[in-house]
């Protein structure tokens, strides 16, 4: 079963653009959000007791009675005079982006859900707050971002994490199937799972989930960053661009060898935008001699990327290979770098513009060291441009994964309780299904039929 689409539950997100200053704001909206915030807020007065549109000083903890995360200022704004026309709480954090993230996670643990891109604005509109003329913009926002980020979230999953989550789902699905098969085919010689076995299985899964959640904290920095890929034909100057970026920036976080021999990812930070460039080794190795990054490989990388930088040689006409990649990356955030502007231009701009909007095409010359500043500006515009570039964008995946994993863990805790109380198996199955659904949000596997499919693959049933 798909997760229910919620109309008015409590949503939360970091509402300040990423990479700007030290203050981050976590915003919550929806009925009951003030009471939820009270669960993690320590101050002179409870937030629920404060008047509307007031600011309170206090501390935010990691769950009720948990350690203190940050000193904060919290604004409480009650419906209807708010941006969404719902109750709103805004937590102003002081400790920088990592701390802001932790505060968001604490908020999620109180029962809020990560807001979809544009969801605050959407609610404002649906509740009659925002002018009709803005509806188009809201739709564009939802349209362009939600699917993209969802997809990105799934794709960004590290192989190891993905495998771990998939394996846990396998076990949970098998447990569910065993319970459900007996329920739907009570006469058949399928053995009931014993409570002891189910308890063992559940405990084991719980431990795994807890471990993963701890790991998520440690690996946080590593996983941040816009997945960026540089594509283009041989000899267009990709390696020069990379070298330039790395030299100029000097803020490389680390080099991490990938899972395959030739994938190396470089991290850099351009004016606060964390960027991860994929397959830098591929670019370097090939240099000007042999190009190994063929069209297929470019596509594969581009598929997973948040940002695609494509380099073209202005002194050569567009070739089929180029066009194929261009049409493939149309849907992506793309910057086209037209290199070798110092030579005679043979590439038809008109043709290029049929693939990409004009403003995304930049003219540079690696040889003359020309035009790189425009690249930096373009990057900043693309990701720090007002409401379209909140921190959720780049970090969505991780927070979402964590949130889902946390909900799965909660469901499994409940499951263990149900087992300990010796409730009938169908109640245990309900908890397991909650956990399964939450994990499915991480891996992107959500099918209504999967339980029934599993029952019939696992057991031989039927007249």
């Amino acid at each position: 079963m798909k997760r229910e689409y919620m109309l008015d539950d409590v949503i939360a997100a970091i509402s300040t653009p990423m990479g700007v200053g030290g203050i981050g704001i976590v915003r919550m909206s929806g009925e009951g959000c003030i009471a939820m915030a009270d669960d993690i807020f320590i101050g002179k007065k409870k937030l629920t007791e404060k008047a509307t549109h007031t600011l309170s000083y206090g501390k935010i903890t990691d769950g009720k009675g948990g350690e203190i995360i940050d000193e904060v200022l919290v604004s409480v704004m009650k419906a209807p005079h708010t941006y969404t026309k719902e109750d709103i709480v805004e937590i102003n954090c002081h400790g920088g982006s990592l701390v802001t993230r932790r505060v968001l996670e604490a908020v999620l643990k109180t029962g809020a859900r990560v807001a979809e891109p544009g969801e605050f604005t959407k609610r404002g509109f649906l509740n009659g707050r925002i002018d009709l003329t803005q509806a188009e913009a809201v739709i564009d926002l939802i349209h362009s971002k939600t699917e993209l980020s969802r997809q990105a979230a799934v794709n960004q999953l590290e192989g190891r994490l993905k495998t771990a989550v998939r394996e846990m789902r396998e076990e949970i699905l098998n447990m569910i199937a065993s319970i459900e098969a007996v329920i739907d085919y009570p006469d058949y010689d399928i053995e009931d799972e014993t409570y002891g076995n189910m308890e063992k299985g559940t405990t084991k899964l719980l431990t795994q989930m807890e471990k993963l959640l701890e790991g998520a904290d440690r690996g946080k920095i590593i996983r941040e960053g816009l997945q960026t890929v540089i594509v283009g034909k041989p000899n267009v100057g990709k390696s020069s661009l990379l070298n330039w970026l790395l030299e100029e920036d000097r803020a490389i976080v680390t080099d991490i060898p990938g899972t395959t021999r030739d994938t190396v990812e470089e991290y850099l930070n351009i004016d606060g935008i964390p960027i991860k460039i994929v397959d830098t080794a591929g670019i370097r190795e090939t240099g000007d001699v042999v190009e190994r990054m063929g069209v297929e490989k470019s596509k594969a990388y581009a598929e997973n990327a948040d940002l695609v930088i494509m380099m073209l040689d202005g002194s050569r006409p567009l070739e089929e290979e180029d066009k194929e990649i261009l049409s493939f990356i149309k849907e992506k955030k793309t910057i086209i770098l037209l290199n070798k502007v110092d030579l005679e231009q043979k590439l038809s701009l008109e043709e290029l513009e049929s693939f990409v909007p004009k403003e995304q095409i930049l003219f540079i010359s690696v040889k003359e060291n020309q035009g790189f500043d425009m690249l930096i500006d373009a990057l900043k515009n693309m990701f720090l441009d007002g409401h379209t570039a909140t921190a959720e964008d780049a970090l969505l995946g991780n927070t979402r994964h964590k949130d889902a994993l946390y909900r799965a863990k909660e469901a499994m805790e409940h499951c263990l309780e149900t087992i300990t109380m010796r409730m009938p198996e169908d109640f245990i199955s309900m908890d397991l299904q909650d956990a399964n659904r939450a994990l499915g949000e991480i891996t992107g596997d959500t099918s209504d039929e999967e339980i029934i499919d599993r029952i019939f693959t696992k057991f031989c049933l039927g007249k």
């Binding site: 079963m1 798909k2 229910e4 689409y5 919620m6 109309l7 008015d8 539950d9 979809e116 544009g118 969801e119 959407k122 509109f125 649906l126 009709l132 509806a135 188009e136 809201v138 739709i139 564009d140 939802i142 349209h143 939600t146 699917e147 969802r150 569910i176 459900e180 329920i183 739907d184 085919y185 009570p186 006469d187 058949y188 010689d189 109380m421 010796r422 409730m423 009938p424 198996e425 169908d426 109640f427 199955s429 309900m430 209504d448 339980i451 029934i452 029952i455 019939f456 031989c460 049933l461 039927g462 007249k463």
Partner: protein, 626 residues
């Protein structure tokens, strides 16, 4: 052609869907005619001789709660009855009864015959008449024209049906009955999409040729529960028949493996898609090659017959192979097969062409119900028949259709599933399909649906009053039990000890004691002197509603969320192609299904949460513009 009659509703087909549809329409005052190719096959059970079972039992109780007939007929004609899953939670308790097939048919036919406003006619319908885009009549093969305002298609598995036993193929409906050969073409001409499904049935044998001593007897329940809320156990008690359990073995599997090439299923002769949950024995042996034996239930077909049904061993192998394979089984060594197993292929529709009311989106007045909609099972068919019949009447009377939501009952889940997703194989009801199954119990079907049946007009004043009285008693008793506090008196301590549950130190509320896994409402009677004398069904409700209160409340909250989205209606004539921001796949799927509300839209495969957001904003835009 000649004009025969002018009526209100025509029901095409006299199976389980047709019977419920016809009864509902006639009882709601419509002049109704039910057409069947053979009146001797009304309410026939061409496959298993039983009604109910896991989740199907829920359907039968829901049909009864709405004012349908299946539950009453099986209560009258059952020969064994059993409440399944009693070791599990109350949500999955499920009633199943073995039926006397002939008695069931006769009983149902007789009830149809005695229903005012209802006529039954033996005829094959070959044409559907349309006037100004609406249904206006049906035509029989002999040329009789019946003008009518609404038609319910209930043709089951008869449409261009063919049966296969090995190389032997006959153009026939189930049990050698005549198929309906002409209507398919007419429906296609109208633009209705059809496809082929397949299913199968095992052999029947003469009981006198079987050695039952080699099998394990299967008994019915001592304390029986009727399907119908209108029957009391004592009204329908009778001596029960036995079923028997035996197993296949390696020899059986060997015979099958050696002859697989002669199976039309594996030889590629069958085009249709078969259900996973109704696999032939060939399927089972190929797919579960390492399973050493398969269960077979040997079930009587009725009281006045020696024929036995071999559940678990449907097949489309040739007759000689069937004889050899069945005879490898303990107890069946000398079996005399009376009817051979066969596979059957038939035309059915893609149910996404229907609205949730079961009316065709493109043909006002034309409804479709039952196995012809791609479902399987008698109970699934009857449930749709009832809804189709009711909505044909609502349509004629210009009223809103009856649409049960997923949170109202299994019937709602069933129809929502087939209409939104269509099916790739015959659809079987299963408890795991019901996301709110803790609320959709077989024990509370009356509380969920009888008020709806009353409003529609299928439930009598008397029955409705009885329900209100029951609910009043339940409510009062729950309140009382929540208010009673037990001290650690001698009798209380003794009782708790006897049931191996932790002693109480101070006081404990009676309702808290009921919640303990080792205890229930009934066993606490001896320490509860103030307890009023209450009927069994009231006591059951008190127990369940207290014991599982936490879980029930949780699901009620989910239902509340669910209903918010269901309450946002979408116009049926919305052209999704014109809505900016919807993804291509979503546009296509939405235009195909044309959902009636946002909740339904959100359940369509290929429609994402982002698409739902876009729809929400679009609707708000429309609202403000007007």
């Amino acid at each position: 052609m000649y004009h025969a009659e002018t009526i209100d509703v025509a029901i095409i087909g006299g199976g389980h869907a047709g019977c419920e549809a016809a009864l509902a329409a006639a009882r709601l005052g419509m002049d109704t005619v039910m057409f069947a190719i053979s009146l001797d096959s009304i309410a026939m059970m061409p496959c298993n001789p039983s009604i109910g079972g896991s989740s199907k039992g829920h359907l039968v109780r829901e049909i009864d709660a709405l004012g349908g007939e299946m539950g009453k007929v099986i209560d009258k004609t059952y020969i064994q009855t059993k409440m399944l899953n009693t070791g599990k939670g109350p949500a999955v308790y499920s009633l199943r009864a073995q039926a006397d097939k002939m008695a069931y048919q006769t009983e149902m036919k007789h009830r149809l015959e005695n229903t005012p406003h209802l006529k039954i006619k033996q005829a094959e319908i070959v044409d559907i008449l349309m006037e100004e885009g609406k249904v206006s009549g049906v035509v029989t093969a002999a040329g009789a024209v019946y003008n009518c305002k609404a038609v319910v298609l209930c043709m089951g598995t008869y449409m261009k049906a063919r049966c296969l036993t090995g190389e032997h193929i006959t153009e026939s409906g189930p049990n050698n009955l005549m198929p309906a050969t002409k209507l398919s073409a007419r429906l296609k001409e109208m633009g209705i999409d059809l496809f082929r499904f397949k299913t199968g049935t095992p052999a029947r044998m003469n009981k006198n040729s079987l050695d039952l001593s080699k099998m394990q007897p299967q008994y019915g329940d001592e304390d029986i529960v009727p399907f119908s809320f209108e029957n009391r156990p004592e009204d329908i008690e009778k001596p029960q028949a036995l079923c028997w359990l035996t197993y296949t073995n390696e020899k059986t599997h060997q015979v099958i493996r050696e002859n697989l090439h002669r199976s039309p299923m594996f030889g590629g002769v069958i085009e249709g898609t078969g259900p996973r949950y109704c696999p032939s024995i060939e399927d089972k042996i190929v797919r579960f090659a390492d399973k050493e034996r398969h269960q077979l239930f040997v079930e009587p077909e009725g009281e006045n017959t020696e024929e036995m049904y071999i559940q678990g061993m449907s097949s489309s192998l040739p007759e000689d192979v069937q004889i050899a394979m069945y005879r490898t089984i303990p107890g069946l060594e000398n079996c005399e097969i009376t009817r051979f197993a066969y596979a059957i292929e038939y035309d059915c529709i893609d149910a996404t062409q229907l609205k949730l009311s079961l009316e065709f989106k493109d043909f006002p007045g034309l409804f479709s119900a039952g196995q012809f909609n791609g479902s399987s099972g008698y109970e699934e068919a009857a449930a749709q028949g009832l809804i189709g019949g009711i909505n044909a009447v609502q349509y004629i009377q210009g009223k809103e259709p009856l649409i049960l939501q997923r949170s109202d009952g299994y019937i709602g889940v069933l129809i929502d599933d087939i209409v939104n997703k269509g099916t790739r194989e015959p659809y079987r009801m299963m408890t795991s399909r019901a996301e709110f199954r803790l609320l959709l119990r077989q024990d509370n079907a009356d509380q969920r649906l009888t008020p709806i049946g009353y409003e529609i007009g299928l439930i009598s004043e008397e029955r409705y009053e009885a329900l209100l009285e029951k609910e009043r008693l339940v409510k009062e008793e729950i309140e009382r039990v929540q208010g009673v506090t037990m001290g650690p008196s001698e009798s209380v301590v003794a009782l708790l000890e006897r049931y191996h549950t932790v002693p109480i130190k101070n006081g404990a509320r009676l309702s808290d004691l009921i919640k303990r896994p080792q205890l229930n409402y009934d066993v606490l009677a001896e320490i509860d002197p103030e307890r009023p004398a209450l009927p069994a069904d009231v006591r059951e409700q008190v127990n369940i509603q207290i014991k599982y209160a936490g879980y029930i409340d949780q699901q009620l909250k989910q239902v509340e969320q669910f209903k918010k989205l269901e309450g946002r209606l979408l116009p049926m004539d919305l052209d999704y192609e014109t809505i900016q921001g919807l993804r291509l796949e979503a546009r296509q799927k939405l235009n195909l299904v044309r959902p009636q509300n946002l909740g339904q839209a959100s359940r369509i495969t290929g429609v994402s949460p982002a698409d739902i957001s876009v729809l929400l904003i679009y609707m708000e835009q429309m609202k403000r513009k007007h």
